[in-house]
Symmetry: none
Subunit: 199 residues, 4 copies
DNA sequence: ATGTAACCGAGACGGTACGTCGGGTCTTGCC
DNA sequence: GGCAAGACCCGACGTACCGTCTCGGTTACAT
């Protein structure tokens, strides 16, 4: 265990900062998440924070990616409905009830003010998450449970969009029946033949 | 032309403040939307702002509700698909490309940090907007073009959720084909009989 | 008693700052005389200090000029030796033992690093002080107790120079006999005819 | 020529540091004389500086004593006036115009804030300098050109005090006539019998 | 017409947090 | 074991806005 030296930064300091940021955000909210408070909580000098992170949001993003990278991997049971039900439920819980989700919501909020952060959040987290969201659908196509012509990007959007909408916009809870209804409606649309839609 | 007096506030000052806030947000972004800048731009004293609006977000919400209350009323052509296509396209444009939408995105961002604002945004704007989102569906039920048993709240969520998701989360554009695909998928799911969904 | 308003700065705040600066310098020395400490001691915001004084030394100079402007006026007893003895003793006490002298020494120290301050200190304090130093000599010339041809500037330098030297450079105390010896030596030189000086 | 090793400190590093400190002080003034700048200019690590000098002023004092110890030795021509004229002129030039004088002025400035440095500056430089200032007077006493009863300390003070006063306090130049006038006045006082001074 | 009371622009105030800078300490690995 | 390198903690710096306050001027109704 060492401090900074000519060969690089102190991993100890780095982790203390990331954890302090996480904790302070969850405990006191974004408004009280100041660099000074993070530094004090982490037992670190402010300058050490500014040395390694250009801004508070870069720091939060780093904390989020470090802590939460492994979450939200969908299961692979062989059954599309089961896989999606589990995955969407996990996503809903992440968005509404988890500590990592609190960090994610704060980052999303900031990204609406800051296009640079929005880009980083998308390239460094969201694109991978969207790939995970598509995984059960891709497997179902391979198994023949979904038509090969299915637009998987669109279908994934139709499934997760309403969850983000409720979690971040309407603020309503996402109970299991809601997930089931969503799943039924969207999958029915995906598997039905060309319907009554054209006017 | 009058200023404040014992009988009430100056409408002139009120409008100047709201317009200045709107303009500064659109021109320079939320970060540079300071009360001092609004006061200077509006030619108004800071105290006049604090006298009438408890916080900057209350001011923004007032500006948003004043400017944009009349927008996004869905048409009533008698055809569900047409009505929804127009309405969802308008919603997409509002969320991604309008000045009022910029204010709405900023308010949404703040509401993720501030539950009190979230509540106000929902009761004073979002609930009415969601009612407008349901209107075409309600009319279709009355006309018999949708089953009477349809869960309209859920159906509306499934339609608008992906638009909010793309506009606020993924940042992708929402082209006409995307709206059409969404409409086809969700309406097909709504009108198909009970499908293959149950395992 | 009022705070700042459209009519200008708060005299209350101004005096609190000047007094706090004086006190802190005398109590803790220049090293611990920070703007933050002054602000806290005066019950004033840091910005209030920066609003009115360009730098800490400008503040100190203001404090010095406000507090000490009336000091060190030489007496006029009609007797040159008495006048000078009193005046030089007062000057010695000011330089070595007074609170105002502590501020003066600090300003002098800074002026050795800062030509701008040196100029201000000379034009706003020292030139007046040097005029006061010459006063007893001028009166003696008028009374005929000193030759009319006397170079008063030089003579004053010869009297006060050694006091500044001991007070600021050698740090030795300046006891009454020292002042008397100085006076005897310099005045003897001033009143003697052209002496053995030319080689 | 060797670097630091088991045999002791690197003389090369020591001299590079002292010279860098001197140069930076003369070139950029005391304000920009930072330890980091000295280290960089000397091609030395900061720690090497802190290892050998307790503080920046100790370093400056070391630089001053190393560079300037040999200066300001008065001549011995056998003629008091000549000796003093040369010596006082050299002293005046040192105080106002030399590089070593710049370092001395900076040290003097710091010593007014720092009693510990003041003591060191007096014991390690000033006392020797004052002894040199007294040398011509002592020789004159031996030669019988000054009364044996002369208070040499006081006389030396009366001669150099006004030079320090002009150089450090009033900032005026010290031209040859000023030195001559000073010399004439003070020596006349020293050689005249008991004068008109007692009231 | 004059007095009164509420609102107005202006801007100084006490604060909080920012991001930067320099001082002085510590660790590593080369020589 | 001295050295260069450089990350570290500490704490003061000067800045930007915050939200509060007081002021003198303005306006419009009520006497």
């Amino acid at each position: 265990m060492h401090h900074g030296n000519r060969h690089g930064r102190s991993e100890q300091a780095r982790l203390a900062v990331l954890e302090a940021a996480d904790d302070l955000l969850v405990e006191h909210g974004f408004a009280r998440l100041t660099v000074e408070a993070i530094a004090q909580r982490a037992g670190v000098a402010k300058q050490t924070i500014y040395r390694w992170w250009p801004s508070k949001t870069d720091l939060l993003l780093d904390a989020f990616l470090t802590d939460a990278a492994e979450e939200l991997v969908p299961p692979d049971t062989g059954d599309l409905v089961t896989d999606l039900h589990v995955h969407l439920s996990n996503l809903a819980r992440f968005l509404t009830n988890s500590d990592a989700g609190a960090v994610y919501r704060a980052l999303t909020a900031e990204s609406l003010h800051d296009p640079r952060l929005a880009t980083r959040l998308r390239t460094e987290y969201l694109s991978a998450q969207r790939a995970r969201d598509r995984l059960p659908l891709q497997r179902a196509v391979i198994r023949g449970h979904l038509p090969a012509s299915t637009d998987l990007d669109a279908l994934a959007d139709h499934l997760v969009g309403p969850l983000y909408y409720r979690a971040l916009i309407t603020g309503e809870e996402i109970a299991p029946p809601y997930v089931e209804g969503l799943l039924a409606s969207v999958l029915r649309g995906a598997t039905a033949g060309p319907g009554m839609v054209q006017p």
